[in-house]
């Protein structure tokens, strides 16, 4: 396996696996609270951070993290306070974030739109050692939150009003979900790109939903799917010389379709097992009419 001997491929695979873990881990809560597209919005906003990174010659990953987290907090506050005009405000935030990113990049001395493209669609083979350090730290945070607080986040995402009446710090937990989603976006940015980040948050979850029956299984299965497609997508992109982000997302969709097709026979098998003893409960109806009347006879 020659690809494991290249330092850049080692970094690429580490980044891919971390993205495969973190994106579905936070994505499942977003799907549960019907905010599937939140990752997409944060991705747009994060572009401003990338542009600022170019402009100020700072590490774009950290800059993107700072801006994405700020954007996610604003989104959460809009959700909380501005229910009525909320979607307009969000649209402003998303497209403003994207536009500012493009503008800052073009103003930067060594910035070009080609640089920007690697962040938009991911360019896993250009992940630098500094990037890897940042990605590892950020991924650690995401895992800590999504696994450590899984019971609380499940409760808040499943029934927010009820969670409030149990006395959980719901606003704080909501904010934490938003911030964690923002952090995940920047973890995934180098691997699948800002425009495809949301796909890796949502598709593995959608796929696991097809066969999982409990939240715990759905969570574990989404992460497994995430890791498998991110890893195999990266390997494929190396051999086939195709972009990693697009490969990973298409593989994830492939898994989704496969599990969807498997779901029906699986449910049937479960039903058959549940009815295991084969006892039936047909009520013996006394013949009310002469049998001649029965057309089927």
């Amino acid at each position: 396996m020659e690809l494991f001997s290249y330092a850049f491929m080692q970094r690429a695979l580490i980044a891919a696996v971390l993205v495969g873990i973190t994106a579905p881990a936070i994505g499942i809560y977003l799907v549960q609270r019907r905010q599937s597209l939140m990752g997409d919005g944060i991705g747009h906003v994060a572009l401003t951070g990338v542009g600022l990174g170019f402009l100020l010659s700072a590490n774009p990953v950290w800059m993107a993290t700072a801006v994405a987290v700020a954007g996610a907090v604003v989104m959460e506050l809009i959700r909380w306070y501005g229910r009525t005009r909320g979607d307009i405000a969000l649209a402003m935030l998303f497209y403003g974030g994207m536009a500012a990113g493009v503008l800052f990049t073009s103003l930067a001395p060594n910035g070009s739109n080609a640089n920007l493209l690697t962040y938009l669609f991911g360019s896993i083979t250009t992940v630098s050692p500094q990037d890897i350090t940042a990605i590892c730290l950020l991924a650690g945070f995401v895992v800590l939150v999504t696994v450590g607080l899984r019971r609380q986040l499940f409760a808040v995402s499943q029934d927010e009003e009820f969670a409030q009446v149990t006395g959980l710090p719901v606003r704080l937990l909501n904010l934490l979900v938003a911030v964690t989603a923002a952090v995940t976006v920047t973890v995934a940015m180098r691997v699948v790109g800002l425009l495809l980040v949301s796909a890796l948050m949502v598709i593995p979850v959608a796929a696991s939903q097809q066969i999982a029956r409990s939240f715990a299984t759905a969570f574990a299965l989404s992460v497994v799917i995430g890791v498998v497609v991110a890893f195999s997508g990266t390997v494929t992109s190396y051999y086939a010389d195709v972009p990693s982000g697009a490969t990973i997302v298409l593989l994830a969709i492939g898994v989704f379709v496969t599990l969807t097709l498997l779901a029906a026979p699986l449910a049937k098998k479960r039903a058959r097992r549940a009815a295991g003893d084969g006892t039936r409960c047909t009520l013996e109806v006394p013949a009310a009419r002469p049998t001649e009347d029965d057309v089927r006879v």
């Binding site: 019907r34 607080l149 149990t166 006395g167």
Partner: protein
């Protein structure tokens, strides 16, 4: 007797609509109080105001003698919201949903053995222990309702607040739940619940508060005629065609 819920002159608006217009509601320790009224009379709003989910525009509210804005002791309350049929698609088992109720006690900590036991016990109380590992999407409406009741019971609350806990629950299960509730009440639990029919719960109810258009129009013994309506086999199709559109109950007050 000490007062568990004390709501005085509560007003609340939803959208721009006044939904509560000066509601007084007092529940004392150990009481079982039924909140009655036609659809849209403000029952759910009153209940949600009690648990702090609808802000009051005026009036006062105290829980266990503490003003709502300083009340932190949520583990003393078990809440059953009015059931909504919204599902997110992410699967969750009956046990996972009921365990979420227990967070009132564990908060940000890890569940201990006693917490797991409380969850299993709550499942047994509503007769759903054998379905604990099933996904909630696979349940009928009445079974789902029983899961929500178990979620509130898992808290082991002093005060149960339930919004139409019997909606969609068949009579046999209503009897079971009434038995469960009787046991809770005999252990000292206070209950405030919204009902449309007193049904098997009738002998448990100490007092009924009836709302109409956001105002209390009756506060006292449960209306006797309701018992008639709630009797098994009672025919709900009233022969007076002219009143067909009217909720049955409004004529009583």
């Amino acid at each position: 007797m000490d007062t568990v819920i004390s709501m005085r002159g509560a007003t609340a608006t939803l959208g721009s609509r006044p939904v509560l217009r000066g509601v007084d509601l007092t529940v004392r320790r150990g009481e079982v109080v039924a909140l009655l009224g036609a659809n849209g009379s403000g029952k759910s709003t009153a209940i949600r105001a009690v648990v702090g989910q609808v802000p009051l525009t005026s009036g006062g509210l105290e829980l266990f003698g503490t003003p709502l804005n300083r009340f932190r002791d949520w583990a003393r309350i078990g809440y059953v919201p009015q059931r909504t049929t919204a599902a997110s698609g992410v699967p969750a088992t009956v046990r996972e949903v009921v365990s979420a109720g227990r967070l009132a006690r564990t908060k940000l900590g890890l569940p201990r053995k006693a917490d797991r036991r409380a969850v299993e016990h709550a499942l047994e109380l509503v007769g759903m222990a054998d379905r604990a590992a099933d996904p909630v999407e696979a349940l009928s409406g009445g079974q789902h309702q029983r899961v929500l009741i178990a979620r509130a019971l898992s808290v082991e609350p002093e005060l149960l607040i339930m919004d139409e806990p019997m909606a969609g629950v068949d009579l046999a299960s209503q009897e079971v739940l009434a038995g469960t509730l009787r046991e809770q009440v005999s252990l000292g639990t206070t209950v405030l619940l919204v009902l449309h029919e007193l049904g098997p719960l009738e002998p448990l109810i100490d007092r009924a508060v009836v709302l109409r258009d956001g105002c209390v129009v009756h506060d006292g013994p449960p209306p006797k005629a309701q018992g008639q309506h709630a009797l098994p086999g009672h025919d709900h199709v009233h022969p007076h065609a002219g009143h067909a559109a009217e909720p049955i109950r409004t004529g009583l007050f």
